[in-house]
Amino acid sequence: MAQLAIESLSTHHVGPISLTIDEGQCAAILGQSGSGKTLMLRAIADLDPHKGDVFLDGKPSDRFQPPQWHKEVGLLCAKPLWWHDTVGEHFTLANDPQMEHCLSQWLSQLNLVNDIMSWPIQRLSTGEQQRLALLRLLMNQPKVLLLDEPSASLDEKNTDRVEVLIKQYQRERQTAILWITHDIKQAQRVADHIYNLEQGSLTLT
């Protein structure tokens, strides 16, 4: 069943785009800089006004409260930003032992120390920020992942770790993923279908 369905979506110069991603499937999107990949993700995440509809499990986005939509359809931005002083303040665990356990496991999988939660944001490297932003997103337990170059500023080893974690999360929760990348080899590794976004329209490669 289609977990994420996009129907005639258009925003700015992008679209109309129609696309469905089934449970547990991953679609990668390639395209030159400026082709509108990020704009497309922003419209799906309902950050920008747009035409057309986006459905999660058959339910249109406007039937969700906006914060709920953002939690269910999680967008990971290419440049992660932080608004509290320390890392830990960005992670709302709500005393959930299961999620605390998940977080500690994910931290070690991404080669991050547990202690990092008490670090001030200024102490983080770009790579650490990118990996932590992924964990911040996963803590909301989204049903759909919209990933905007999640490994853009990572070295090869950490790219591998991020890919493995995302694929593991996808397998365990049957998540639908839309993955933007510039790296065709990465697209081939992670995706079931690869699309190309050119001049505002999407084509299957």
């Binding site: 950050l47 006004p49 914060p67 709920q68 939690k71 999680g74 967008l75 608004w83 960005h90 997103l137």
Partner: protein
């Protein structure tokens, strides 16, 4: 009351000081000399005109005339709020926000002061109504302008942070909370400083004016305390209303940050 009347020569001497300051500014290439001269001339003309208006107003005690003068003051103050903002809202929203916040705050507090506290007959006696409204409107205008400017400017600079907060599952109100609080503080800071240092560092203008005009110092002090409290209340109310409307306008029904609604 006994006071020493000022002659045109006295004012001319004071004006020379401003001209000297402007000349220094030209000499040092500070680029504020011209502006300083313009606003000094503007202030002189405005004050002379209001002097004439007050003279007419005081002799008639006409409610309609008072309302007309109050409306003109409100329009000018609303325009001043707009002029001091870097990122204004498009269209009527800009003037709506400043006019409605100034109107509700300054006018309601002035009304309370005139009817409940002063209790003069008639309550709209221009001798009290105009100075009270003027002081409240002038101060609230600056406070609202500071707050709105801080809000729109910070939102503009931190738009990506706000969007990532929204993406993390926060509501528009939560995502804006830190910026809104900082904007309230920015607007309230001048009156908090004024209250903290009143009588110690600075002798407020109104009190000084009353003393110069021959009032007993303790009477002047009582009026000054009253006006400072009223200004604080009016500033707070004006800021809250302006920021409430502006915050709502910054987001749409789907809680998207709509920077297309403010000018770049």
């Amino acid at each position: 009351m006994n006071y020493i009347s000022l002659t045109p020569l006295d004012l001319a001497i004071a004006a020379c000081l401003v001209i000297a300051l402007a000349a220094t500014s030209f000499y040092l290439k500070l680029t504020i000399g011209k502006q300083l001269l313009i606003v000094a001339i503007r202030a002189t003309i405005q004050l002379l005109l209001i002097g004439l208006v007050l003279k007419t107003l005081f002799s008639s005690s006409n409610l309609w005339l008072l309302m007309f003068v109050a409306s003109v003051m409100l329009i000018v103050a609303s325009r001043e709020v707009l002029a001091r903002q870097k990122h204004k809202f498009h269209g009527w929203w800009a003037i709506n926000i400043s006019a409605s916040s100034l109107f509700v705050s300054s006018f309601s507090i002035t009304l309370i002061a005139l009817v409940v506290i002063i209790g003069n007959q008639p309550w709209y006696s221009p001798q009290y109504a105009i100075p009270f409204l003027g002081m409240l409107l002038g101060n609230t205008m600056s406070a609202v302008a500071l707050s709105l400017d801080r809000l729109s400017d910070t939102v503009w600079r931190e738009r990506e942070v706000i969007e990532q907060r929204l993406l993390s599952g926060e509501t528009a109100s939560q995502a804006l909370n830190t910026i809104r609080n900082a904007s309230i503080r920015a607007g309230m800071l001048p009156i908090i400083n004024a209250l903290a240092t009143a009588g110690v560092v600075n002798l407020p203008g109104m009190m000084t004016g009353q003393i110069l005009a021959g009032s007993p110092p303790l009477e002047a002090v009582k009026y000054q305390i009253l006006i400072l409290f009223l200004i604080a209340a009016s500033n707070g109310l004006g800021i809250l209303i302006a920021l409430f409307i502006a915050s709502r306008r910054l987001f749409d029904q789907r809680q998207r940050l709509r920077l297309d609604r403010i000018k770049t």
